[in-house]
């Protein structure tokens, strides 16, 4: 996996505390180029929270996140939190960096959401075009006065090509919310790809899918990863999918990392089994 290369994404000692609740505690992980890495764990383990502070939706209470070697997010307990902080590794980083979600997307990370968040009232085509907006070269006046016909045309062609590639071209003029659930998931991935990411974060892509759809999704993710030369990090409950596509897996339980390793290692890991089957005092 590693080959001595630096990781693309590195999460360092991140803690997220909401009021008195520590949702994620001292979590560290790495994702290397071209990997598919999964984050699993029982409900409420803090997976989506981890996703949200990586993508800038939340500010972690403590810890750092690096993307391609540069510091993307950093924080330490401040203000009232200084007194109430309950996590580990208190205030190890001195700097505070807070990029907003759009800045993080501009760096080359794109994401999907657990409960699909398409632009519901817009057409599929406009959903994709809106995601291409950030790559617009022409300034506001050029765009507003239609002086960028060339660029607008190119954007439309790219969007059409992207949809065709994902097998969604035939629904491009449909209103996003009118489509079936499985298709909406794929549109959300297509929309994320429209931001031209190098790193894709998928939040429970198989949620609500039947086994056949899940198999298709597995193939789809692998193919998309190859086609777009991506590194993928996903949260998933669906174990067959996770074991099938991931190179490595991290396991969270009650906000703490309890295991990491290849699918085979994780399947053998007694902490993981305990966490999932709810065996009490597995160690004792």
């Amino acid at each position: 996996m590693n080959n001595g290369k630096p990781p693309v994404l590195r999460v360092e000692n991140c803690t997220m505390q909401f009021g008195g609740v520590v949702a994620v505690d001292n979590f560290s992980m790495e994702v290397y180029k071209d990997e598919i890495v999964a984050l699993i764990g029982p409900n409420g383990a803090g997976k989506t929270t981890a996703f949200n502070f990586i993508t800038g939706v939340y500010e972690p209470t403590n810890g750092r996140v690096f993307f391609e070697g540069s510091l993307m997010v950093a924080n330490r307990p401040q203000g009232k939190m200084k007194r109430f902080y309950q996590g580990d590794a208190n205030a190890i980083c001195s700097d505070v960096v807070r990029k907003t979600p759009d800045q993080i997307t501009k760096l080359g990370l794109a994401r999907t959401f657990q409960n699909i968040r398409l632009f519901k009232g817009l057409t599929v085509f406009d959903n994709v075009l809106a995601a291409m907006h950030m790559h617009l070269n022409s300034n506001f006046f050029m765009a507003a006065l239609k002086l960028n016909r060339g660029e607008e045309k190119r954007m439309r062609e790219e969007a059409a090509a992207l949809l065709a590639m994902q097998g969604l071209y035939h629904v491009k003029d449909k209103i996003a919310s009118s489509l079936p659930y499985g298709q909406q998931r794929r549109i959300e991935i297509a929309r994320a790809l429209a931001t031209k990411p190098r790193f894709l974060l998928l939040d429970e892509p198989a949620a609500g899918m039947n086994p056949q759809e899940t198999d298709e999704l597995a193939a789809f993710i692998k193919k998309t990863k190859e086609d777009f030369n991506l590194t993928v990090f996903l949260i998933e409950h669906h174990m067959t999918l996770v074991m099938d596509i991931s190179d490595r897996i991290y396991v969270l339980d009650f906000g703490r990392k309890i295991a990491e390793g290849t699918p085979a290692e994780i399947q053998e890991n007694e902490h993981v089994i305990a966490a999932y089957l709810g065996v009490e005092d597995a160690e004792s």
């Binding site: 632009f119 009232g121 817009l122 075009l129 929309r191």
Partner: protein, 366 residues
């Protein structure tokens, strides 16, 4: 579904424009008899600009702003101050006199309108930095508050030598023909349509649909909200200037919150998110308001005084209309669709007996 070909549509558009021009020409031939109608049309056109500008912010970007009256006041006062003929100024500022630096400045009305829009836009940019991060309902109250601040500053005695305080301005340059306000309004609306159809317009829509997702797609919320607010305010300012020229005399009372509510009625009636809806509703509401004046007149039927009809009844009807639209007909006239000749053709087709018959025979619409 009927799809007209593009040539037919072009012909229809040219014909409609031509007919409108002919009609205006006809109205202008006899200004005395048609003066009232001309006034209504001009006011409608100006309100259409404000309504589209409000829609750009509220309907397309999803930000609930209620500051329209304030930005219109800025535009109106800019145009008023700069277009009152120099020789008429002592007469206008008869109480406190005019500020010396302002005394001799008189500029072309087009420049004044543009400047009015620009000042409104600058104010919006400054205010926007402060308030656009607020949640939608706080934003509404904050913009309403700003409009009220602007109005009270304009009316304050400290501004007497510039805005003539609470006495208001008069002798503002007026329109000479009906074409001026119509062409200017059309240009403003056309520019807003271009913006909405550009990539920026799509970004606005994305923000309206889902802020979190829009941000995750690399759209900077603050920049785009600010942009929408500034554009909207620019055109609101220009429309305020047009209104000043239309009325000839203004005072700070013209720009009360009720003015904003009037525009809101137009936007809601026309459909949040529809430019053509706003335009249509601007004419309907403004025209309706004038032609329904008889509601305010005492009415006698067979010698019996109907007590329902007396001053104020008209406004009750209009505010009730706003309620009815919101409660029972939330989409308004156009929903979030736009006017198209295809739409008209289908509308007519639906009411033709042959159309019904054909559909009855199992002919699918699509």
């Amino acid at each position: 579904m009927i799809r007209l070909n593009s040539k037919t549509k072009l012909i229809l558009t040219v014909a409609a424009l031509g007919l409108t021009m002919l009609w205006f020409y006809h109205l202008e031939q006899n200004p005395r008899a048609n003066g009232y109608l001309i006034k209504i049309l001009e006011r409608s056109a100006i309100y259409a600009v404000v309504a589209v500008a409000m829609n750009l912010m509220n309907g397309f970007t999803g930000l609930f702003s209620l500051g329209q009256a304030g930005f219109m006041a800025i535009g109106a006062y800019t145009v008023g101050i700069l277009t009152i003929p120099v020789e008429a100024r002592p007469n206008v500022y008869y109480i406190s006199g005019v500020a010396p630096w302002l005394e001799k400045i008189e500029i072309h009305y087009l420049a004044a309108l543009f400047l009015g829009g620009l000042i409104a836009a600058v104010f919006a940019a400054l205010i926007g930095v402060l308030i656009l991060k607020l949640r939608s309902d706080y934003l509404a109250i904050a913009t309403l508050g700003f409009a009220e601040i602007i109005r009270s500053v304009i009316a304050s005695p400290q501004m007497d030598t510039i805005t003539n305080g609470s006495y208001g301005l008069k002798k503002i340059l007026r329109f000479e023909t009906i074409y001026t306000p119509f062409i200017l309004s059309a240009v403003c609306i056309f520019m807003m349509v271009l913006i909405l159809r550009s990539s920026y317009g799509r970004a606005f829509l994305a923000i309206r649909e889902d802020e979190v997702a829009a941000e995750a797609m690399g759209i900077n919320l603050f920049t785009h909200k600010e942009l929408s607010f500034v554009i909207s305010s620019f055109f609101t300012g220009v429309a305020g200037g047009l209104l000043a020229m239309f009325m000839g005399s203004i005072d700070s009372g013209t720009f009360r919150v009720t003015l904003t509510y009037d525009i809101l009625l137009i936007v809601v009636l026309g459909g949040m998110g529809s430019v053509s809806g706003s335009v249509i509703a601007a004419f309907l509401v403004t025209g309706g308001r004038e032609y329904l004046r008889f509601f305010d007149e005492p009415l006698k039927i067979a010698g019996v005084q109907i007590s329902l009809f007396r001053p104020g009844f008209r406004m009750v009807i209009f505010s009730a209309l706003l309620m009815i639209v919101v409660l029972f007909y939330r989409k308004g006239i156009m929903g979030d669709t736009e006017f198209s000749w295809d739409g008209i053709a289908n509308f007519i087709y639906r009411f033709l007996p042959t159309g019904k018959a054909r559909r009855g025979n199992g002919g699918r619409d699509e």
